[in-house]
Symmetry: C2
Subunit: 201 residues, 2 copies
Amino acid sequence: MAEAGGGTAIDELIALMARLPGLGPRSARRAVLHLLARRAVAMAPLAAAMAEVAASARDCVVCGNLATADRCTICADPRRATGEICVVEGVADLWAMERAMVFGGRYHVLGGTLSALDGVGPDDLGIPRLLARVADEGVGEVILALGATVEGQTTAHYLAERLAGAGVRVSTLAQGVPVGGELDYLDDGTIGAALRARRPL
Amino acid sequence: MAEAGGGTAIDELIALMARLPGLGPRSARRAVLHLLARRAVAMAPLAAAMAEVAASARDCVVCGNLATADRCTICADPRRATGEICVVEGVADLWAMERAMVFGGRYHVLGGTLSALDGVGPDDLGIPRLLARVADEGVGEVILALGATVEGQTTAHYLAERLAGAGVRVSTLAQGVPVGGELDYLDDGTIGAALRARRPL
C-alpha cells in the first residue's frame, strides 16, 4: 500500500526529504504536503533553486568555503582584510562567524580535524595550502577558531607548531563563560577555563 | 554580508527551505549543508524528485486525493472495495488512515470543513460530487472520519443530513480513550465522550 496513496513519485520525494537532518518521516510528510498545496509558488522554485545549487556549488579554490564561482564571495570581496586568516573546521563554523559580524578578514576552511584513527592528515585538511597563503598574502595574524574539543584543540596545537617559524601571530578564541550564561548551569571544564583565564576588572 | 558567504544561490535555497513547516533558519542551514556535502547522491536526486512531483502532482478527479495521474492509486486499484467511502478533511488524514491499514474501501477528500466565516460552502468541499458518487458507485456505507473539532463535527452533521435520503448507512469514527491513553492525562471532553459511548464487556 503506497504511503501517500498518491503514487510512487510523491512517496519517493517524502523518503528523500525524511533523510535530511532534523526531519523524520512525519515532518517530511508535512513539508511535502505543504509544498504540494503550493506547487507553483513554493515547490517549483525550491526544486529549481536546489538543482541550481547542486550544479553550481563548489569549493572556493583559495579558502575551501562553499562557492558558486571559483572564488567564494569573501575571497572575491576586496573590502575583506587580507592580513588576517581565521581557520575554521567547517563551512558551518564559517557561517556562524559571519553571522556574528565580528570578523572582517578572510578564512581557511580545514574541512575537519586531524585524526590518526580516521586517517586524516595535514594534507587532507589543506594545511600546506594554508602555509602557502600565510607566506604569499602578507598575513599578520592567524586566528584558530576551532572547536573546544579534544580533536579541535589537537589540530590547533599542530597548526601553532607548523606556523611557529612563519613570522606570523597565532591566536585562538578565548574560552570562558558564554554571554548570558549562568555559572549554575556551566560544566566544570568551562568554569575552570574561565577561572584560569580571569582578567583584571 | 551574505548569510552563507557562498553566493546568493545558496542563500536563496536556505531561505526557501526555512519556509517549510518544522524547519527554521537554523535547521534549513543544517539541511542545506548536509545536501551540499552530498551534491551528487542526495541533492541532485532530491531536486529532480521535487521538480517531477511539482510538474505531475494533481488532484484525483474521483476522490480529491493527491495523484500523479487522473485517478489516484487508490481509485485506480480494483482491489479497493467500492461499497464504502471514507470522508476525510484533507490528504494528511487520508495518509493517516492508510498508515493504520484498517480500511479497504475508497475515500472522499473534502479539502477542508464548512465555514460560514471563511465562505467555505458545500460546493467548495465537493459535496455534490460525493452525493453523485454515492448514487453512481453503489455505495452501502459512508464513514465520516472528520476531526473531533467544532468545524469537523458541524461538517459531519451537515453531511449526515444531506445523505439521509440517499439510502446509505452513515457512520462516524468512535470517540473515546486513545489506545495506550491514561485517564489521568485525558481531557474532560474525551472522558465524557468515552463514558457516554460505554459498551458492555
